[in-house]
């Protein structure tokens, strides 16, 4: 469920219909809940550098971090 400070985002109708079907099958209460979950998960890739062990291992091998 979206909070009181929610904003509207325009999506292509076909995309939204697909989202709604997947959200329903996957057990989300609404398409909005599904979209919010996917976006939050995706944004973690960009906001949480600490979890990037692949990069950390590579940089250690190259001698760029301790």
């Amino acid at each position: 469920m979206l909070g009181s400070k929610s904003v509207k985002v325009k999506l292509d109708r076909d995309l939204f219909d697909r989202l709604r079907k997947v959200a329903d099958v996957a057990g989300y209460a609404t398409a909005e809940e599904f979209v919010t979950h996917v976006l939050e998960k995706e944004m973690l890739h960009f906001e949480d550098a600490g979890s990037d062990d692949d990069i950390r291992d590579k940089l250690k091998g190259l001698g760029y971090i301790s």
């Binding site: 960009f46 550098a49 291992d57 091998g61 190259l62 760029y64």
Partner: protein
């Protein structure tokens, strides 16, 4: 404008530190050499010496490699008015009591990874990292994170420089860098510091 106001409210931080950043093997040492030749003072301990991977030198400051773990980062202030090389993964760990002008080097990710893999082979270190496509995805995220961070923190300003364009037209890159850094650098000396022969790993 908003960043200028926030910086002003942040107090006296002295001269900005110029950060040369990017992924390892993206051309950061070449940029350091350009700035060195152009007249900028480099913050380096010269501990990592030139080798076959970087015949013209690394221009690194060894302690920076511990930025993620070290709590006392006050030494970074010594870089005010100078150039310091910090790989993109560690930009997030720079202390907030300085202003930073970040020069972010971009290069084709396949070229970067090929060059990194050759370096790891030569160093004889163990490579336990993911396959090429997963590594590219991780690096793409790293680049976006760096851009986001520089946009969100008021004491950061960012310019992106492209490796291949610099090889092809060093004069244009020297001009762009000089404009970003205040216009007092020797552009001819900077562009002469670009050695196109070192463009060895091509996509």
């Amino acid at each position: 404008m908003l960043k200028s106001i926030k910086r002003f409210l942040g107090g006296n931080r002295g001269e900005p530190i110029v950060i040369v950043s990017g992924l390892p093997r993206s051309g950061t040492s070449m940029l350091m050499r350009m700035l060195d030749r152009g007249g900028f003072e480099i913050m380096t301990d010269a501990e990592r010496v030139a080798d076959v991977d970087n015949p013209n030198g690394y221009f690194e400051y060894e302690r920076v490699k511990h930025l993620e773990k070290e709590t006392d980062k006050s030494y970074v202030r010594e870089g005010r008015g100078k150039v310091l090389k910090v790989i993109s993964f560690l930009i997030k760990d720079l202390p907030d009591d300085n202003d930073y002008r970040v020069i972010f080097m971009r290069r084709d990710l396949d070229e970067v990874i090929t060059s990194q893999n050759k370096m790891i082979d030569r160093l004889g270190t163990q490579d336990t990292t993911a396959d090429r496509e997963a590594m590219k995805e991780a690096y793409r995220n790293d680049i976006v994170r760096t851009r986001l961070l520089c946009k969100n923190r008021p004491n950061f300003e960012l310019i992106e420089i492209h490796y291949k364009q610099t090889i092809e037209d060093p004069v244009a890159t020297a001009r762009e860098l000089n404009g970003f850094l205040g216009g007092k650098l020797d552009e001819a000396a900077m562009s002469a510091g670009v050695d196109a022969n070192l463009y060895r790993n091509k996509a």
